[in-house]
């Protein structure tokens, strides 16, 4: 990082040295980008806003898994189950007990965090592949438990209807109004994720990822930090779940499958593991791809009629599977790596290096 600083800017204080946004151009891009983002509902259609909302919610969940897997090195294949926990806590609290949005958000985050902590406990003894299996078990156990023994409060396989958000008498029902709840939260969570990995905690995570024994010898309490990583990851999942509940308005255990969990990990891989910007790239890239395949598969099905069922049913999973596989084989460092190359060459132009 330090080698790649912008040309011609010299830090004169620790504050400047630690700043994330350091040049005037970066400030302009950041503020301009945020203003543009928040002005979007004025001229964008509902469909685009709904895609953006989906991107923002997914982004929160992927940030969580990026902290756990990308920074702390603990593989989790159960993120979607923790999202389900958050979503159902919000759904029950808001529709049965009438809690406010902020109370639901807090309860979802903490509740999912606790469940994540429980499933993180095996990480004391096992790691790597075995840990992946234990989180996979969470992915199979949690939705079935939601659907069957808890069906009295969750509605089981029937959908649980969630009331819309209401803050100070204003009801957030449309995509455009949801946009102003979801996007600020996503920006905030991104900011938190970016800063977390720059603190001592984040450095401890990275040390554990790179070499567990060396980290322990350095005086890092490996077990405590692993559990903390699981907790933070699941808190992110809980927040994503809370927003999901309000956004899709009717919860069903089938919304939270193993495929979604794989999808989250895939987004992290495509974006670039262990990079906050990478999580953003991955989510935006794959969600956009999803929309494109959805539109193009129904369009192609009208042209190639004999291939119609094949295109409509099978095209999107094939495309996702291929994209993730190709990235793993040809660019395991993800889109974030391309971004780093672009930044470096922008800074060094006209010199080669």
């Amino acid at each position: 990082m330090a080698l790649n600083r912008p040309c011609g800017y010299y830090d004169e204080s620790y504050g400047q040295d630690m700043a994330i946004v350091r040049t005037r151009l970066q400030w302009v891009i950041l503020i301009g980008g945020l203003v543009l983002l928040f002005a979007l509902p004025i001229f964008a259609s509902g469909r685009i806003l709904s895609v953006l909302n989906a991107i923002a919610i997914t982004l929160i969940a992927v940030h969580g898994i990026n902290i756990l897997t990308g920074y702390c090195g603990q593989i989790s294949l159960g993120q979607s189950a923790f999202v389900a926990v958050g979503a159902y806590i919000t759904g029950i609290l808001t529709s049965k007990l009438g809690f406010s949005f902020w109370a639901c958000l807090t309860c979802s985050a903490l509740g999912a965090g606790l469940v994540g902590l429980i499933f993180g406990l095996p990480s004391v003894r096992i790691k790597g592949f075995y840990l992946a299996m234990s989180t996979l078990a969470a992915q199979f156990i949690i939705p079935v438990v939601i659907a069957n023994p808890l069906s009295g409060i969750t509605g089981g396989w029937d959908s649980l209807v969630v009331k819309p958000i209401e803050i100070g008498g204003v009801v957030f029902r449309t995509q455009a109004s949801m946009f102003y709840i979801i996007i600020p939260l996503a920006v905030l969570m991104t900011f938190f994720a970016k800063n977390l990995v720059r603190t001592g905690t984040g450095r401890a995570f990275i040390a554990i990822r790179d070499n567990e024994l060396a980290a322990e010898v350095q005086g890092i309490n490996v077990f405590a930090y692993k559990l903390l990583a699981f907790f933070i990851c699941s808190v992110y999942a809980g927040v994503a779940g809370c927003l999901t509940a309000y956004w899709i308005k009717a919860l069903n255990p089938t919304n939270f499958t193993l495929m979604n969990s794989i999808w989250y990990v895939g987004m992290m891989i495509v974006g670039g593991m262990g990079s906050t910007a990478g999580a953003v790239f991955g989510v935006v890239f794959l969600r956009t791809l999803e929309e494109i395949t959805k539109i193009s598969s129904s369009y192609l099905a009208t042209i190639f009629v004999t291939w119609g069922p094949f295109l409509q049913g099978g095209l999107s999973p094939i495309v996702y599977g291929l994209v993730i596989t190709l990235f793993l084989i040809f660019e395991p460092r993800g889109i974030a790596h391309w971004w780093e190359i672009f930044k470096a060459s922008y800074r060094l132009t006209p010199f080669a290096y």
Partner: protein, 290 residues
């Protein structure tokens, strides 16, 4: 009492297929170090291909099964050559994720070609079940159990007693030493994938007689993970015992506690095994080099 015995028997018979699946996965894991998460999809694909050949093209059953196995063996070879070989030596997460994305790919292909409908294999067995002292042995379960056990025994014999099996076992011990002794490790990798694909196709066809052929078959295939870890990831004998035990326990829990327990029990067993004995019952203790 009779009910409990009945649950144990039907669970035990179901467990036979788990054992065969677990064996395919263990063989693959031992020689390549890769755990194949696309197990359910490979089963489903085998069953779908067999169904197409047998029902749609009206080939005799034995011929369509043989053709299915050849097709799935080729599929395993293609997977190994195109996807797995470029990724040798990559970190663990890559190895896990690539088989997961493979499962995405195969799901897409299967839904694209065969759609989301449930297909059924034609009945080949008499419907009246064998009954012994009040306990019913359903014909399809009985047949699937004996088929699975026969294949298991055949493969176990080949693994222990033939030159190819010896090469696979040597590769499992150490890639480098095996290579130094003149074993073509790449061949063994390809062979392991072919073998795994063929075994899973057999399991898919066997299971399809009972469960029908649909995406659900892929879901059911995932229940083999607990069976593998129960016996220990690196132990072929453990696969047999793990499969039978998990089949029995899930049937008991499903029958005695609640039907939904049947889906969850294998994974609860998985968690308990991972926490108490991470290496499984018959697995080797992992020793870490600093």
């Amino acid at each position: 009492m009779e009910a409990i015995l009945q649950y144990i028997v039907s669970g035990f018979l179901t467990g036979g297929v788990y054992s065969l699946m677990a064996m395919g996965m263990v063989l693959l894991y031992k020689s390549t170090g890769i755990f194949n998460f696309a197990v359910g999809q490979m089963m489903m694909l085998g069953a779908f291909v067999c169904w197409t050949l047998h029902v749609q093209m009206t080939l005799p059953l034995w011929l369509s099964i043989i053709l299915t196995l050849i097709f799935c063996g080729l599929l395993g070879l293609v997977i190994e050559r195109l996807i797995m070989r470029p990724l040798i030596g990559q970190p663990l997460l890559t190895a896990i994720l690539v088989t997961l994305s493979l499962s995405y790919l195969l799901t897409g292909i299967a839904t694209g070609i065969w759609g989301g409908y449930i297909q059924a294999m034609p009945e080949i067995l008499p419907t009246s079940p064998v009954s012994l002292g009040g306990i019913i042995f359903p014909n399809d379960l009985l047949l699937s159990f004996f088929l699975a056990m026969a294949f298991f025994a055949l493969l176990f014999f080949c693994y222990q007693r033939t030159r190819v099996g010896l090469a696979m076992r040597a590769t499992a011990v150490s890639h480098q030493i095996a290579q130094a002794r003149g074993i073509n490790v790449r061949m063994v990798f390809s062979l392991s994938w072919i073998l795994c694909a063929v075994i899973l196709a057999i399991c898919g066809v066997i299971a399809s007689f009972r469960l029908g052929i649909s995406q659900y078959l892929a879901q059911a295939g995932l229940r083999v993970f607990p069976a593998i870890l129960f016996g220990g990831l690196g132990s072929v004998g453990g696969a047999l015992i793990g499969g039978l035990t998990v089949g029995m326990l899930e049937s008991l829990a499903g029958g005695l506690i609640a039907p939904w327990m049947m889906e969850v029990t294998p994974y609860i067993i998985l968690l308990l095994v991972l926490i108490s004995r991470p290496g499984g019952l018959f697995g080797q203790k992992g020793i870490e080099r600093i």
